[in-house]
Symmetry: C2
Subunit: 321 residues, 2 copies
């Protein structure tokens, strides 16, 4: 059994609570991800291999494996690796779009190899995901993952379309988050086990995850998030904290994000925080996680499986508590 070298806290909690099958299966996912890098030798380049090895929370693979349960077998391992490949492909492309220097405290592919190579590396990781599934004829999994990929790209496009519009509606923001983040969490659960309740569970914790991520961009602190406060705002990405704050402080709707610099961004973050918007968004996210956990009650799980899924849901929250 291979265990990821730097397992992040939420995953550790789940692994500690689970019986042996889960860590063993997660180790197989890691092996499979490493193989994707090796196969291409020099061509895949150090960038993709580094991206693959760098880890991250592996939340989506964990959801696939947990929803599939102990009988999920090799198909679940492949699906778990495939969804992580798609996730990493989107991260590599996101960093191109945002011109981001750091990701998880490490330099991005876009920063080290150039935005040009990063586009191709993302394409490669993305294609590998479908090869992995197609080679074994996992048609249902391919359909689910391809649809989620369409949603991801649609979410990215929506984000670009709304960029720098401080007056964007809450509905539009939530729709965008469902596409950009919720769809892949939903897909992870459905890849494991295709039921409405699990899909809804995944979609909701995904949405909560994004909301809390957006709170963190405003609240910091930078030494924990690994990026400056207001980074999204500087990119023109308007998120729920600003939208909610503008309800109390309508002048915020007129802020010209084009004119923001690093210092102004901090001040804008303080002004958003002063309205109590961060607590509001945080408690909405917590309510979502609570509702998501209740969805599990209606599904016929064995007690361990349900308990572990609840731990994952809690993990989404704990990152930010």
């Amino acid at each position: 059994m291979t265990r990821p070298s730097a397992v992040p806290p939420p995953v550790t909690a789940v692994l500690d609570a689970s019986s042996r099958w889960l860590p063993s299966r997660l180790g197989e996912v890691e092996d499979l991800l490493r193989e994707q890098g090796r196969d291409h030798g020099e061509r895949l380049g150090a960038e993709a291999a580094t991206t693959l090895a760098a880890g991250g929370k592996r939340l989506r693979p964990l959801l696939v494996l947990l929803c599939a349960g102990v009988d999920g077998g090799e198909a679940a391992v492949r699906a778990a690796a495939a969804i992580e490949l798609v996730h990493m492909a989107t991260l590599v492309h996101d960093d191109v779009l945002d011109d981001a220097p750091l990701r998880r405290g490490l330099p991005t592919v876009a920063a080290t190899a150039g935005r040009d190579r990063a586009v191709a590396v993302g394409d490669l990781l993305f294609s590998r995901a479908f090869v992995l599934l197609a080679t074994h004829g996992d048609a249902r999994a391919i359909a689910l993952l391809a649809r989620a990929s369409v949603a991801l790209a649609g979410g990215e496009l929506a984000q670009r379309q709304d960029a720098f519009d401080a007056g964007v509606s809450e509905q539009r923001y939530l729709d965008r988050c469902r596409l950009k983040t919720g769809a892949l969490f939903e897909c992870a659960c459905l890849l494991g086990h295709d039921t409405e309740a699990l899909g809804a569970f995944g979609a909701q914790i995904g949405l909560a995850f994004q909301l809390l991520d957006d709170v963190l961009d405003v609240s910091g602190p930078p030494e924990r998030t690994g990026k400056a406060r207001g980074t999204d705002l500087l990119d023109g990405t308007v998120t729920l904290p600003l939208i909610a704050a503008a309800a109390a402080d309508p002048e915020l709707r007129k802020v010209d994000l084009h004119k923001l610099d690093a210092r102004n961004a901090e001040q804008l973050c303080d002004r958003i925080a002063a309205t109590g918007a961060l607590e509001e968004v945080r408690s909405r996210a917590l309510a979502m996680v609570g509702a998501a956990k209740e969805k599990l009650a209606s599904a016929a799980f064995d007690p361990e499986q349900r308990h572990l899924l609840e731990l994952v849901a809690d993990g989404v929250v704990q990152r930010y508590s």
Copy 2:
């Protein structure tokens, strides 16, 4: 029957020579491509819809349909649309990589909507291709197309790795072309009908296509190619004309492509042409097309199908005659 509004010459020749099923089926491919744009409404954005509608040679869909033959049915139409979606996704991303202002004489997505949106538009087109196939459970087609997509991305990465290296070997150039161009032509034929002979036919005319494309970059004239002579060289892309010319004029291996500007690029093109390299590469490509056509002899085709595939092979050459 819907017929593309501006059918390019090689396709016209094939359509004129074929009985009714082919133009009708190609019309269905166009309808399906248009649907891919419509489905997303505002979100897909004008960019993707324009890319989809802009046409192009549709050589890959034509190969799918021809290899599948009259009995190919809806599965062949879907595969033909899917491979064109992947092709267009790579064009959109290529234009990001190359920062290209024009494609087929029209502004690129990267130029009109920005490189950021272009990355997401490419991702969307790419994902749509797999949704299209997965929705109907075309597992074999997905495996073929995903493998070709890996090759395409690998080819792009190889090209970036070799950029500005005037001493790159012919072997490495040919390998790159097989990945970057040959693999998708091969895939088109295999999507239609999975035989070794047809795959080899596709791979060879794809390679010839790329060689002739690279000749055209050096030979021009710009009013026919829609881009300045030496555009690839300015991007640091070393192709067979330069490699072949350096055999006669070894100083060319030491050219510093980083120092090239538009005027120098024209002079370098003239110097390459003066060695006779363009005729050499052109006749190698013609020989490849000839060999590809002979591959068809070993396959059991009806005479019309074989004749039409030969016309496509000729079309690859005629673009440049």
